[in-house]
Assembly symmetry: C2
Homo-oligomer: 498 residues x 2
């Protein structure tokens, strides 16, 4: 191998070692670490993040990359160099002290958010949120002085998308889905009250064990913990961490949190092993969310999938699910109804939750929304689009962890991911008899397919190239719209004469 | 503050940041990390350990310490400088590549040990064990070319002790305890068969929750995980991690593992907060084990302590403990009987398990034992002292994790710790009505006492000085011998005419 590439590899290894230890510490912090040790921990985590930052901004490597760029490299190496150069440009614009301060801020802010959410007190979190927004603005302008702040942030999560493209996408969602949601509100309701009975946690834990088995999420490469907000962290191909969260008054919550995170987990697990510890592991959030949303909704909410664990679930909760058939349960987890909590939202109203966050974020950074009043604007926006208002802060502005971690620009990728997954699923259904396989318990056929057509490539291709490769077409949101219209028209019998 | 001390503080902070991340990763590895990710993880952990090694051996700090040594420092600062100089001398003798290799070796070796133990196959672990012994010899001779290897190793865990001192100590144990054990074998046996019925794990988990409550081990500063071999890791005053291990055929196992580790945990938690991240947190193993053994045996096996959780235990396992009274249970967890597993051994035969390991380790390093045959020598030694032989490797040479981690010289501190705890307990009983407080559920009075007289001081004093401070006397193993003779003579009615 080229001596320069050797040097690059050594540097990547070093960086991946710091990354692994930081990821481990973050996972630990979110799942099990005693709250009392936070101050001690966060000071040291921030310091180690700055050590890692020093490595990531090593001038010698920047020079090396510039040299490598001019060489005749193979496809994979060229892509690596390009992605690293982009990363360098992004990170080197931030002075180290700003970076260290910002890391500490996001850690403290996440802790403040947790406390604020559990006590339903926005005032604990608000000062941190405002500081994060101000710091992000500053950083974005340091990075790209000529660009709109929000476009700079969007690029971090999905380089394919811009405010202009998202505007078109969300306009389509507004135009097509809002009328459908309104129609359903007038249709005959589907019974789902049994989902919200009391489901004790200890038995939900057993259900998770069963579900992991159904999904093929095994302990030799995966671990599931519990955190306030479910997430996935891929340490390496054979070490993928996910979390779930239990709601004793909503049995669907932990189920679909797990299935969603398992979608992310398979992505991490099925990438080529040689990408471990390299920038080629850094798949865009848009693509990543497409795989979690695909497993959660397009597979997870099918009768043929639910059939694999429903008898076990019924045994665990015989009283709660008395007289509830597999069909009843399947329909219930698809009920479309305006609601306040994004992660528990049904497939149809889900993109509206994202639309709201998109408009909020856009407004925050173009100055049209006064951040001082963000909680009220949040509430107004829910009323405008879904006709409901949060009754407390925990169901309003405090519900998501993202902003506390500085993840502005992430939310839109959830809706985008859903749309991408519809397009991929359309192709998958042409190639595989999905229900047939699920009826036989062969989820592996589907995850293998995704591994082969999507996951293995990691960040080798941009979203549009990968989509063309996997589906033969450019990104087309109409698959998503058509899928939702078709599914919900049938589910609520909207076509039938009244 | 002195500018030099300022610089030292900054360096200590940096070192503590690396330590924290490494400890977190080790804890993660021992408790939850997927086995598949080991290779990726261990390569990076070894690298990060070598990064941390670089900081620990920073020449500039060594010079600084030499300068500080000549200054007129307050007691605490002088002690810090002395301990750090000792640490420097120890670590700088090891070349960085040897250190990195050794770190990787112990990680791989621990994984090999886990596999070997769970499959009962010594051949998986043996090559690692031999390599660790050879490397340790090499390192010890690099560090102290003039000193006996085993003395160098013993010093790492308890500077107060040497082979000469341990020889005297273990001779006393042999002389006094072996005849007592032999006598008990001929006495009327105490019923303890109910301890070894089938105790399903899920209910043991509930028992752990109750026990943590009784002990005052709370989630704001402590976390309990599960690992193959129970251990404690103190990250900071308000972040102390312990683990337990479940044996479904021995209800006493998890109980006394937890109580033992809680003893360590209180030590870590009750040290002065200003010691966090400093060398003053590095208490010797001899002192540390005194606190775990004290809680486990001198408190944990008392009727008045067991009373606090026994009704709950009986409720959990009504069938298994039918007709078993609190008195029956208390007597059963004190039964003295030669056995194969150290961690499950009773108080009286326990030091014999340690004696065996001490003689093995001494023999390994003075060359009188052929390491090639270590498993057989192990078996012979158990036969010589306890009259029994392991029936498999998992109950023989594979039972403990220590050697796989390179911890040779640690074992003797368990017996030493037990002897120290007897001396401390003797004083404590003069000052406090132990049973009276325990009957009222006031364990806190006792842990507070230990906090005040022992824990708060961290590594400020050597073992002998701290003992003098806490009990008014030098180390005297007769308290230990007298306690055991008295307890077991009464328990087995050895004084009564036959």
């Amino acid at each position: 191998m080229n001596e320069k590439l050797e040097r690059l590899k050594k540097w990547e290894f070093k960086r991946s070692a710091y990354d692994l230890l930081l990821s481990t510490a973050y996972f630990d912090d979110e799942t099990i670490a005693p709250s009392g040790g936070r101050e001690y921990r966060y000071e040291r985590l921030a310091y180690m993040a700055s050590e890692s930052y020093k490595i990531s901004t090593d001038h010698k490597i920047e020079t090396l990359l510039d040299e490598l760029k001019k060489e005749d490299l193979a496809f994979e190496e060229r892509r690596t160099v390009e992605l690293l150069i982009k990363d360098f440009q992004k990170i080197k614009a931030i002075p180290q002290d700003v970076y260290e301060e910002y890391t500490k801020l996001t850690l403290q802010s996440t802790a403040a958010w947790q406390k604020a959410k559990s006590t339903n007190d926005y005032s604990i979190f608000k000062p941190y949120l405002l500081k994060i927004i101000a710091t992000l603005k500053k950083i974005a302008l340091l990075r790209e002085p000529e660009k709109d702040v929000y476009d700079t942030l969007l690029d971090d999560y999905e380089p394919f998308m811009t405010t202009a493209r998202y505007d078109v996408f969300f306009d389509l969602i507004k135009k097509e889905l809002l009328p459908l949601i309104a129609k359903i509100q007038k249709a005959k309701p589907i019974t789902d009250d049994f989902l919200y009975k009391y489901y004790p946690k200890d038995r939900q834990e057993k259900l998770m064990t069963k579900l992991k088995e159904v999904l093929g999420f095994t302990s030799d490469w995966g671990y599931m913990g519990v955190s306030m907000h479910p997430f996935t962290s891929g340490f390496s191909k054979y070490d993928v961490r996910i979390t779930t969260a239990y709601d004793e008054h909503n049995i669907a919550s932990a189920i679909y949190s797990l299935v969603h995170e398992a979608g992310h987990a398979f992505y991490e697990h099925q990438m080529a092993e040689r990408f471990d510890g390299t920038i080629l592991k850094a798949v865009s959030s848009g693509m990543h969310e497409s795989q979690s949303r695909l497993l959660e909704n397009f597979i997870g909410r099918r009768r043929s999938f639910i059939k694999n664990f429903y008898p076990f679930l019924k045994e665990l909760y015989a009283d709660q699910l008395k007289d509830v058939t597999l069909d009843d349960f399947t329909r219930a987890v698809c009920v479309a109804k305006p609601s306040l909590i994004r992660t528990d939202a049904d497939e149809l109203t889900y993109p509206i939750h994202i639309l709201i966050r998109y408009e909020l974020e856009k407004g925050i950074f173009d100055g049209s929304i006064k951040v001082e009043d963000l909680d009220e604007v949040w509430s107004d926006m829910y009323y405008k689009y879904l006709g409901i208002r949060p009754d407390d802060m925990a169901s309003g502005i405090l519900q998501d962890i993202h902003w506390s971690q500085g993840s502005f620009g992430y939310f839109p990728t959830y809706a985008l991911g859903s749309a991408i997954s519809a397009q991929i699923m359309h192709k998958l259904e042409e190639d595989i008899d999905v229900d047939g396989e699920l009826e036989k318990g062969n989820l592996k056929v589907l995850t293998d397919y995704l591994g082969e057509h999507i996951h293995q490539y990691g960040a080798l291709f941009d979203l549009d190239d990968l989509l063309k490769k996997a589906t033969g077409e450019e990104f087309d949101p109409h698959y998503y719209i058509d899928y939702l219209k078709d599914k919900y028209t049938k589910l609520y019998h909207l076509d039938e004469g009244r």
